[in-house]
Symmetry: C2
Subunit: 399 residues, 2 copies
């Protein structure tokens, strides 16, 4: 029986009072011609399908909506379970739900897949209405700004004029910053977690190696692999393995895996045994699993959007960008995050102080590296600052 394959924790979620329960991904079609999206790269794109989920109820005043921005490989499914066979819990199940960090008893929560993604929102694997073939590399290079513009339209479509808050980590945090700069009147607060006002040169370096892995895979076929038996799974898995190392701290890898061997207590002296150490086995597994759920072209486009993100460049300075909004800010970093180090969060905080904005800043002493904001053990601490921040924001809004 298929259900026996599910872990008990997963099955129980549907009836867990701490979970939003069974949820559904819906879609909205926006930017219909003759009003397509004009991207930052001056391409025209439309119609654009946006996949989204909502949890909780919009208040009669329409003032309790919280928008969640997902990270590089996330999707609209942030909380709850899907009905049917795919009962995978949302990516922020531990943080979003009744009584949780983002309390769905109090807030109307929206999460949507990003433009350029592959989980329901228009991206390179979608059908190009002009050619009736998949976009592949005909998809325009889109930016964090383009992603946010599409999501802002979705929020309006859902009848929300001003968000109580926009919340996100990593690439999601970049989106939050762009929300503040691009739609300053549309948000009352912003929560920026493990993020930065621009990707570091080291971050660009890792991304370029990941993209190279995909592009050099002969199965990539210039991006037109959709009708082939096999896509660039080696390249995509490699990109994921590499990225995964950067999401963990050195300490957490050392503690979790160290130099332990996977299948034996002796070295094998066999070069072809690629998963001899546990850390090797773990990374290979991560790569393999990722390929099953993610599109290689989306990976290229979204990592490029990350590389391009540069708040100072787009608006003159970080302070000029963030000074456009009256929103209250909460900035969170993690001490062991070396991909988006604390120093980059401090840069955001300084810019907010400089432009006279309200900002709370927490640098949590976590061992888990960049992934901390997704790790169950770290969520209570994150909740302890996000909950009161949202409450205070609601109090401010309701005056």
């Amino acid at each position: 029986m298929a259900s026996e394959l599910l872990e008990p924790a997963t099955i129980d979620l549907a009836f867990d009072p701490g979970s939003v329960g069974i949820v559904e991904t819906r879609t909205a079609v926006l930017f219909d011609p003759p009003r397509p999206l004009r991207t930052d790269g001056q391409a025209e794109l439309g119609p654009i399908t946006v996949a989204y989920e909502t949890y909780g109820e919009l208040s009669p005043e329409r003032d309790n909506a919280v928008f969640l921005c997902h990270a590089l490989t996330g999707d609209a499914h942030a909380a709850g379970l899907h009905a049917g066979n795919s009962r995978k819990p949302g990516w922020w199940e531990g943080f979003v739900g009744p009584g949780k960090g983002i309390d769905t008893d109090r807030y109307f929560v929206i999460c949507a897949n990003v433009l350029g993604g592959c989980q329901g929102t228009t991206g390179p694997c979608s059908i190009n209405p002009t050619t009736l073939r998949r976009f592949a590399l005909d998809f325009p290079v889109t930016t964090v700004g383009d992603i946010v513009t599409v999501h802002a339209e979705l929020v309006r479509y859902l009848g929300v004029e001003k968000l109580l808050s926009v919340v996100g980590g990593s690439l999601g945090g970049m989106q939050v910053l762009e929300w503040a700069a691009r739609f300053p009147q549309q948000i009352a607060s912003a929560v920026v977690i493990a993020s930065a006002a621009n990707l570091s040169a080291q971050g660009i370096a890792f991304n370029t190696v990941g993209r190279r892995a995909i592009l050099a895979d002969p199965r990539y076929r210039g991006g037109q692999y959709y009708d082939a038996d096999e896509g660039p799974r080696f390249g995509l898995a490699l990109a994921r393995m590499l990225a995964h190392i950067t999401y963990l701290s050195e300490d957490s890898i050392e503690k979790k895996f160290g130099r332990r061997l996977q299948h034996s207590d002796r070295l094998g002296y066999d070069l072809m045994r690629e998963t001899e150490f546990q850390i090797e086995s773990y990374l290979h597994y991560q790569g393999k699993r990722f390929v099953e759920r993610f599109d290689a072209n989306s990976y290229l486009y979204l990592s490029k959007a990350m590389d391009y993100f540069n708040l100072a460049d787009s608006y003159g300075s970080i302070a000029a960008a963030l000074g456009r909004t009256d929103a209250r800010f909460l900035v969170v970093s993690y001490t062991s995050d070396w991909l988006f180090p604390t120093s980059q969060s401090k840069q955001i905080v300084r810019a907010l102080v400089e432009s006279g904005r309200h900002v709370s800043f927490f640098d949590f002493d976590s061992p888990y590296g960049h992934d901390s904001f997704l790790i169950d053990e770290e969520l209570p601490r994150l909740a302890s600052v996000v909950r009161p921040f949202l409450e205070q924001t609601l109090a401010c809004v309701r005056g």
Copy 2:
């Protein structure tokens, strides 16, 4: 004229009083059957050709020999220039020569390519005397211990019973530690730079991704690519690009490249432009150049030797390993080195103190990351501790 293509600095080296001038790589054939090398993995290998260079003169007492252990992709050519067309200076030209950090006016310096390498010493691209074809994957998996065993034999072959010092950085430093444990009577001192008593789990993680890149390249052909038109150059270049990131500090990448673009002052919005940012262009160049000089199979074998290195595992504890020798130790680390962090050097120092050995330790505040020991700007500082250390050792020996 070909000489016009050489940089002036390169041409002048041959006549530079600070350089050892024109040098030659020689070879020795060791471990001739019936006395082959028995590797740590219990394979038999022999004869083994060892490529080496020497600089300076061996003293009549034969007490002034210094052995240099090169890092992952180094070779026997540490100093001076080769005659003929390939006038490339040695990899430690700034540190080894008359009056330099390792003073060839005072010391007889030996440097040899490692077992499993591809620069003259027997490795996977050498001809297997049994099959008369290249070894490829028939080459046995060899360890840092095997490398050192071959080099110890070379040193004896050169008429040196006891080395004044054995010196190396990174994988070279691992060899130095293994020298101390395996041939405790054959060295009077040891200089361990930017190294560790074992590779960290994070280091293994990066290595496994690099190896995956090579193995997944269809041109790898199960290691039998030598007779093909093209080897796994994409995979090997990718492995190098990735490794190169780990050799630099985040700060040094930020300062040297930042987010500067390579060819334009505007973003190109073109996914196929792989070298848009300067850091991308730099890494692609490094990858491309590396492929011209290095063998993919050697990369697999040597990175595996690094993964396997574990002094504590081989000898019970680091203290037990290093306590076998009476050699004096100098340990050097660099603050911005995150691949072989200072904490790992301190572990070596603690073990030496624990076993009552003489040790000097310097943690240099350098911005250049793991590569610091190869960077010209850092060499005077390194020389300022290595020179007196070698002098004192010589004084002790001649005591």
